[in-house]
Amino acid sequence: MSPTVVNDFTVTVATVNGSGSASSNTILAKTVFRMGVPVTPKNLFPSNIAGLPTWFLIRVSEKGYQARTGTHEVVIALNAETVAKDAASVRKGGVLIVDEKIAGGITRDDIAVHKVPFAELVKPFAPDPRLRKLLANMIYVGVATDLLGLDRETVMKVVADQFAGREKIVKLNQEVVKVGLEYSRDTFDAAKCPFKVESRDLTRDKLFIEGNAAAALGALMGGCTFVGWYPITPSSSVCEELIHLAKEHRVVGGDHRFAAVQAEDELASLGLVLGAGWAGARAMTATAGPGISLMAEFAGFGYYAEIPAVVMDIQRVGPSTGMPTRTQQCDVSSCLNLSHGDTGHIVLLPGGIDEIYEQSQQAFDLAERYQTPVFLLSDLDMGMNYWMAERFAYPERPFDRGKVLDAEQLAQVKAFARYKDVDGDGIPYRTLPGTHHALAPYFTRGSGHTETAAYTEDSDEYQKVVDRIKRKIDGSVRDTPAPIHEGDPDCDVGVLHYGSTRFAVEEARDMLAADGIATKAMRVRALPLHAEVVEFVQSCRVVYVVEQNRDGQMADIVRLKVPGSAGLIKKVLYYAGMPLSATTVVEQITADQREPSHV
C-alpha cells in the first residue's frame, strides 16, 4: 500500500454531460473548500447539450496550487464509452471508483478498483429512470466522502445549500449520499485509500466563484447600466449573471436602473453598446472569438469616433468555431488591433478571479476616461470554472466618468472642441446628447473629422486627430494595471505570462526552483505594455513567454516593444485546449535550459 497522501491529489469524475453530475461534482469540490482545504475544480465538457463524454477534475492542493495537474489519482468512472480510457488514466497506486455494470474489462492491478452498483443502490429512491440517473451521482459523493475522509456534516450542509429552498430534494439527495457512504463503508476499507482530505484553515474569507460571475459582479459594482449581448459559449453567463444581479439590485420602485438587450448578433451587440456609451451609459458586451471578429468594423468606429465601450472576450479555442468548450488565449492580437486601418486598443488581462472582479469595474472607468473601446480578456478556464479567490472588496472610489462637460461647466469654460487635446494627454472632452447648452452639440462620425468634429478630407486635420488618438492610447499606461514582478530581481531567467496562465506558471516556477532552476517572473495585466516590461526583459538572459496559443501572440507583442529582445524571448506555448498544467511549462523550460534553442 502506498503512503497516505494528504490534501494533494486530483479526483476525476468521468460521466456523460446532461446527466446531472455537475451538482455532485460541485458538492464534492465545495465540501473540500469548506473543510478549509484549497481546491480547484475544472469542468471539461463537450460542445453539445447531452450524451457526450465529460470529465470533471477536482484538484485538492494544500499548497494552494490551482492549475490542472495532468494526473489522476482518484477516478470515478460512470461512462461506458470512456471507461477503458478512464481506467487507464488512473495513476499507479491510485483509486478507481467504477460503476460495476461497466467495469468488466478493467484489468489493472496497480490501482485499487472499487466497483459500485449505482443503479441498484438508487433504485429504491426513484422509479423514474431519469431521476435515477440524476441520483446515481449522489452515490459517488457518498463513496468519495467515505474513501477520502470528507467531513460528513459538511457534505450534508453543502448538499442542503446546493438545493436550498427545495426541502424534499435536499432530503432525497442527502439520503442517497448516505446510501453511497454506507455502501462504501460496508464494502471497501477506507483506511486503505491513500488519498485523504484533512481539514485545514486555508480558505477562510475566500470565495469560491466562477470567473464569469466575478465579471458580472464587477460590472454591476462598476456601474454598468447597459448590456447588449448575443449568447456564445463561454461568455453567455457573464451577461446572464449580470442581468440576474441587476434584476435583484437595480430595480427601484418598478424602474429598472439598467437595460439589457439581447441582440440579433455581435455586430448589433457592439452597435448597441456604442450607441449607449455615446449617449452616456456605462455600456458593455461579452463575447468569444467569433463575436470579436464580427465586432471588427464597429471596434474601429469606436476607436476613431472615440466612444467608450467595454468588451469582454471570454476566449475559447480558435480559429473559426474551433473547439467552443476548450480554452485558449488566442484573441490577444486580434483584440489589440481589431479593425482595418491603424488602430490599437486598450486590452486588460486579468490573471485570476479577484482581478477579473477588479478589472471589470475598472474597464468602465478606463473606457470613459480614454473614450475608447476597452477589451477585457478572460478565458473559458477562468470564466466557466469555480475558483478560489480573495474576498472581493466593496469599491470605495466613485466612478471615473472621464472628461464630460455638462451645461454648467460649458457655461464656465465657454469653449468646446470635441476632438482637441486641451490637457496635453491626448484625451479630449466630450458632452452627452441631451446636454442643454449651445456649445454642447457636436457631430460624431467614423469619417475624417477635424478637432471641432467637422467633416474633413484635409490631410493635416485628419492627421492631427489620428496622431492624438495614438498618444491617448499610449498614455493609458498611466491608469491601466501595471505588470506584477515576482522573484529575485537579480535572477536572469525570466518568465513572462498573463491571464489564466498564471496558475500553471506559479506552480511551475516552484517546481523549477526545486529542480535548481531559479526564475523571476512578470505577469502582464494590460496592453499597451508598460515600461516595466522593457526593463524586465532587458534584465534577463532569457525570457520565456508562456501563453496558450499557437503563434506566441504576446511574445511577438513583447518583441516589438523591446528592441533587441528577439534573442532573449522564447515562446512557451500550449494550445491544445485543456487548461494549462505546470508540467507542460516545466518541461519546455527545462528542455530549453538544458539545450537552449536558438530563436
Binding site: G271, G280, A438
Partner: protein, 343 residues
Amino acid sequence: MSEADSNALGLAKKDYAGAKSTLCLGCGHDQITREIIEAAFHSGVDPFNVVKTSGIGCSSKTPAYFIAQGYGINSVHGRMPSVATGANCANRHLVTLGVSGDGDTASIGMGQFCHAVRRNTDMVYIVENNGVYGLTKGQFSATSEKGVRKKGGDVNEFAEIDLCAVAVELGCGFVARSFSGDAKQMVALIRAAIQHEGFALIDCISPCVTFNNLSDSPRGFDWLREHNLKLHEVGFVPEYEAQSVDQIPGKTLRVDMPDGSYISLSALDESIHDPTDIQAARRVLERDRLDKGHVYTGLIYYNPKSEPLHEVLHLGDKPLSLLDESELRPGRQAFDGILQAYT
C-alpha cells in the same frame, strides 16, 4: 400649420438648420432634409434633445444638414439601428431620428432593420429610398424594382424588397410611404412619427438625380410626379391644437394618438384608406406590388398599442446616462449577501 416666426419653444426655423448640404443639386434627399427641419420646427422639438443617427450613404450624410443643435452620430454602413437603439436606452427622453438609405437599410442593414422593428425602439426611421446606391455611384439596391433600367443600360434582375410590407409583417406600429417631393405629406408624417411611441417607418421615395432619374424610372422625379397615388391627404394636429378643433370636415378620418394629438386623413376619392386596419394595409401593399403603374403614398398602417422598447425594459424617468454610484451600486449589505452565495 401656422406660419409663425417662432414655435412653441420660441425658436425660429433657422434654429433647426444644419450645415450646408454637399449632395448633388436637386437630390431628393435635400428635400427630406428641409421637411425634417420644417416638422421639427413646427412640432417645437427641443433641438438639444434630438439625436440624429444614420449609416453610410448620400442619405446618411444628411443628419449633418439639419438641426445642428442636435447630437448627430453617423455610424457605419447598415448598422444604425443598433446604435440608435443603444442611445435610446441610455436616455429615453432623447428624440431619436434615424435617416438611412435603401442600400443602408434593405441591403446591408436588413437584419438590423428587422430587429429594430421587432424591438420597437422609439424612433423615427426614414429611408431615403432612391433604388440605387448613390454614394458608390449607382449600383442597384434591394429596393430597385425588377426590370428597371439604369443610365448606361443595365437592367435590374431581382425583385424589390418592400420595406413597408416587411415592417407590417414584423409588427411595426407606424408604417408610411411617401415621396420627397410631397413636402406637405412628409411634414405631417414626420410630425406624427415623432409623436408615435415606438418604431415609426417612413419609406420615402427620394430620387437620385444623378444615377436613377430616367424618365421611366419608378424612383425618378418625372415618373413619381405623375404616378404617385395618395391614399389620403395627411394632416397632423398636435395635442395643444387638438382641443380647439371641434369638428372634422366630412370624409376625413381622425386617428387619435395616445398623447392627445391626432392624424387627420382626408379622402381624395370615394374611399379613405384607414391605416388602423391591418387587412386594409396589406391590401394597399399588394395593390402597390401588382400595380406597376403607381406608387401609393400615405400612412399605410398605424397601431398605437405596440409597447416601445423603453417600456418593455421598464426604464425609469432618470436617464441611465445620469445615474451615479449612489444609485447604481448595491449597498454593503446587499454586496455581502451576494458574496455569501460564493462561500
